[in-house]
């Protein structure tokens, strides 16, 4: 299982803070699974939308491989400081 965490504006837009996804080979595969839900998922996670993905607390890219036990986070553009 892969834990997927949604933060800040994305959590509010998607209506969930975290969930378990059975399996995905890469970050790109995971995003396809989520977009295929349609509706707000397809809209918020569409190609070109400004969000980043972290795997186990480090920034990742679409090709980053995933394995069971990983924590993947979807991060809207940051606004701290």
């Amino acid at each position: 299982m892969i834990k997927v965490v949604y933060l800040a504006r994305l959590r509010d837009a998607l209506g969930t803070s975290s969930e378990q996804i059975p399996a995905a080979q890469t970050v790109a595969d995971l995003l396809i699974i989520l977009r295929n839900r349609g509706g707000v998922w397809a809209e918020e996670l569409a190609e070109g939308k400004a969000f980043k993905v972290a795997v186990n607390h480090a920034l990742a890219n679409p090709a980053t491989a995933l394995k069971s036990g990983d924590e993947v986070a979807l991060l809207p553009p940051v606004t701290g400081g």
Binding site: V5, L7, A8, R9, D12, A50, A54, H57, A58, A73, L75, P76, P77, V78, T79, G80, G81
Partner: protein, 150 residues
């Protein structure tokens, strides 16, 4: 190179004193304090909630400090970032750097703050007269960080 995420306020004077008290080779301390304004994008701001991603935040801030050490010769640094509910006038963030001479301290402090703005997972949600809203990232923040790559 301590990094602290906390809900509590901080005492700038005490933090700087603690950062430099054991090292007589320090000749310069540069610091930055970010505070909550009561106005943003033309709207009154009654307060804001600061969220972060525990675990990644500390990692991201340590990486920024490591990058700063690779570029400038300075002794030590401190980052404190508050989270939770804040009001106008409240302190949000503190960055301090100690070095032998002012140039390194100024530059490293500026660099750390610019990359904190673009690379550390913090998010602000403002309370305005029309309701709560998540802030959008500023293009000017990306430009500020990109400047250091030239």
């Amino acid at each position: 190179m301590p990094v602290r995420i906390q809900t509590a306020d901080f005492d700038i004077s005490a933090e700087i004193a603690a950062l430099r008290k054991t090292n007589p080779k320090i000749g310069a301390v540069a610091s930055f304090v970010g505070v909550v304004r009561d106005m943003n994008e033309g709207d009154a701001v009654a307060g804001m909630f600061l969220e972060h991603y525990p675990g990644m935040t500390e990692h991201a801030l340590q990486n920024i400090i490591t990058d700063a050490h690779a570029r400038w010769d300075f002794f030590d640094s401190l980052i404190i970032h508050r989270v939770g509910q804040l009001a106008p006038l409240d302190q949000i963030v503190f960055v301090a750097v100690t070095s032998a001479h002012r140039g390194e301290a100024f530059d490293a402090c500026h660099f750390i703050m610019d990359f904190l703005k673009t690379n550390a997972p913090f998010w602000k949600r403002e309370s305005t007269p029309t309701g709560e809203r998540w802030l959008d990232a500023r293009v000017t923040d990306d430009a500020a960080a990109a400047r250091w790559k030239q």
